[in-house]
Symmetry: C2
Subunit: 478 residues, 2 copies
């Protein structure tokens, strides 16, 4: 840690402890320099850092002040979706959201893109180049339906970190986590079946259910501890549910990590009702605390958990390298994999395998986790600063996605259209519900290194929210 970071840490502590109070003027640069025996420029750098993080703000010709603190917004309460199987809607809105992918000059707060610009990813580029330069013939040939053995071996090793004991024979490579989830749902369900999902839930999975003619039953979900097992049990009692599909570690969109005890209880519940668990671990490696959370799969005793993941969030989504450990459903998974894509593209598989083998993956993960964690703190500050105060904000424990709940009457689809005019994309909450609930919510991406443009973008979104709230003056209570 450099000197200025140390000083910034000290000052932050004092602000937190109330030694410097909200709105109070801070000591001059010179005074601090004397007090701590550091150079003027060190103090300036420290102040600059705190400013970036919105903890302090400069006043022209008056020095720095502690940013007026609004109360930390509460986290969203337990959700209360309709407790009956519903058909999935929202496809048009989902397509609209993903269609923005190729547009440039759009600030993409709505996307699920990780930051792929960090130097720790360079060895991957190098390996991909090398494979082409040496004209590795495997790249041009059909791969096995199961995927490249070297990669499956590396993945099996990685899963030790989430508490699993898998071998390469338990792993099938897929075209991103999306294909893993698709083959998983197909392996477990028939058209007309019912699947239990978290609520809110990842739109990509819900559209799989829609496409396969499966109904979803949305289970109340807590923004800190995850799916309500009590509500799930009630649903299982009442409906012939075939599987529960969830993102238990660094949830998309809520960011929670389901506690181990609850993960274990879920497996017991699944055994009792003899249902499958489809576990989407796409963000699990990006938990802010080390060691990473255990997978539900690690509690699996009889192969009923289908663990799905990918390198899309941890490395880069354009590689389309995902995987599934399908337990007892291996045979059905292989058939679907064969008929839907035949095999997976080879070069990225070889490159990722080598990237991991050479030891580049863990340093990369550490870097990204640290970045996303730091970004979260700044982003939360910005949201507090620019958004009205009667909102709820998630406290992600990993990943790079934030869920904001606005007052109940709020229309985030309208907000989304408004800010789009200013070149800003956000994800409207209704995409995360089978039946279009959460119209008053939005999901924001904070993966990338922050720029002034991003801060300005968020300010615009916040202003627009305030303006739209203003048009409903009677309903403005939280």
């Amino acid at each position: 840690m450099t000197r200025y970071q140390h000083l910034a840490g000290l000052l932050e502590q004092r602000i937190e402890q109330g030694l410097y109070q909200s709105g109070e003027r801070l000591p001059s640069v010179r005074a601090l320099s004397t007090e701590h025996g550091v150079s003027i420029s060190t103090v300036q750098q420290a102040y600059h850092l705190l400013e970036t993080r919105q903890l302090i703000m400069p006043q022209p010709r008056s020095g720095y002040f502690v940013t007026p603190r609004k109360a930390t917004p509460p986290v969203p309460a337990l959700t209360r979706p309709a407790q009956r199987p519903v058909e999935i809607t929202q496809w048009e809105s989902v397509l609209e959201l993903v269609n923005v992918r190729l547009e440039t000059n759009v600030l993409k707060f709505g996307s699920g893109m990780p930051d792929v610009s960090q130097p720790t990813i360079k060895p991957l580029w190098k390996e991909m180049s090398r494979l082409c330069q040496y004209q590795d013939a495997r790249i041009l040939q059909y791969d096995s339906v199961y995927g490249v053995p070297a990669l499956r071996e590396q993945i099996a090793r990685l899963t030790v970190d989430c508490g699993c004991q898998l071998t390469q024979d338990d792993i099938v490579i897929t075209t991103g986590c999306q294909e893993a989830l698709f083959v998983a749902v197909r392996a477990v369900c028939q058209p007309g079946d019912i699947v239990a999902v978290e609520s809110p839930a990842f739109p990509g999975t819900m559209q799989i259910l829609r496409g396969l003619d499966i109904k979803a039953i949305e289970i109340p979900t807590d923004s800190v501890t995850g799916i309500s097992l009590e509500a799930l049990r009630l649903a299982l009692d009442q409906w012939p549910i075939k599987a529960v599909l969830l993102v238990p570690s660094c949830n998309n969109p809520l960011g929670f990590i389901m506690p181990d005890a609850r993960k274990k209880s879920l497996v017991t519940l699944a055994q009792h009702f003899d249902i499958a668990i489809i576990e989407d671990d796409a963000y699990g490696e990006l938990a802010y605390e080390y060691p990473r959370p255990r997978a539900i799969k690690s509690f699996d005793e009889d192969g009923r958990v289908l663990l799905c993941s990918s390198f899309s969030k941890n490395l880069a989504p354009g590689l389309r390298v995902g995987w599934i450990a399908p337990g007892r459903y291996l045979e059905r998974v292989i058939h679907t994999k064969y008929i839907s894509t035949g095999s997976t593209v080879v070069q990225p598989q070889l490159a990722v395998a080598e990237f991991i083998r050479q030891g580049h993956y863990q340093p990369h993960l550490r870097r990204m986790r640290a970045q996303y964690k730091a970004n979260l703190s700044t982003f939360t500050c910005w949201v507090r600063e620019y958004f009205p105060s009667n909102i709820c904000v998630s406290r992600p424990q990993g990943g790079f996605l934030m869920w904001i709940e606005l007052p109940e009457y709020f229309d985030s689809l309208k907000l989304s259209r408004e800010v789009r005019k200013a070149g800003i994309q956000i994800a409207a909450g209704s995409l995360f519900s089978a039946s279009g609930k959460y119209r008053n919510c939005i999901r924001l991406n904070y993966a990338n290194r922050f720029t002034e443009e991003m801060r300005e973008g968020l300010r615009i979104v916040g202003n627009e929210v305030a303006k739209m709230m203003h048009t409903f003056p009677d309903q403005n209570a939280p």
Copy 2:
């Protein structure tokens, strides 16, 4: 044309014309050298070429002889599958076949691999390297669900050659032709539906039907003109068929090109019965005659033809770049594409687009067509030489796959197991039928440049066939 090639051509003509008769001794090297005023080594090269092509054979210390000519085997007759909807079986055999992909030291006559070793493919390697070296950020990011626009534009241009008028907005990129066919079937059919297929038919497609709970009705197919429209009409009269799925240009496995008039009639028939046509054109660009055959899609008037293809057979399957022009089914195709794989891997798309844009694609196709055509003639010679005479052999008009029909009682699965012990893989005919017909047939791949090892391999297969025929002496009539 070099001098020795010219001489070889002359000698071949004489053999064809019967000036040198079957089994006759050819002039000595010295005599020919004098006769044609060329060097000894030129004559030796010419003889060597003719030997490779099995037209002549050396006898130790006696010089060269015209290879004893067996009669050219007839083509297989019109097939006669059961004319009722059947469930698809054969999955275990298909999986066994594709599982050989990663094995080395196996002579893969059973595979669908093109030759990817030709120098005309080098610019593709170069472009793939370049994209990595310059760290083109698009490679790491999510692609649009539709695919890379530059590639879709190039594909739209290419389809002019098969008589279509498409724009990039009509094209969706897929993970190989397999995903194109998968999304096509899903776009058109529901579980329980019936689809008409050629017989024999590509196992990959039939397994799609199996996976989606769709029955196949196998339509009699001629090895020269393709699916019997008469039989198809009868089937359409009798059954509620939703679509017909076929490989009309350079068929897999029969190698025919359906005549234009029949392609057009098929469209009329489809209109009359209001069914969709799923056209698999994976091999269409590899027709031996130029210009390439028209696509059925070129006769499409109301968007009922879903044209599926890829760069797997024309460039390299490991890239997993395929595409579909789904006509009126675009919306359903996009939904399936989104839920099954999200988007397609980016780098190969960019590389292929640039390969085409820079003008490398047509020279490569010309080279491959010429190679496959030349290989066919040699391969046919070898088959004539090494196989018993009571067989039928297809006359492929493009591609690199040969279909051999052995006497009716023959068990090619047993043959397949026998030659596998000698490190040779062949594709048993029963894989190409929904109900396990064509047990007496095999499909062989002749894509690669020939080696002595391949000739020896084919000789072993032929010997094994003869041996197995011998064990049924009473049934040995053709």
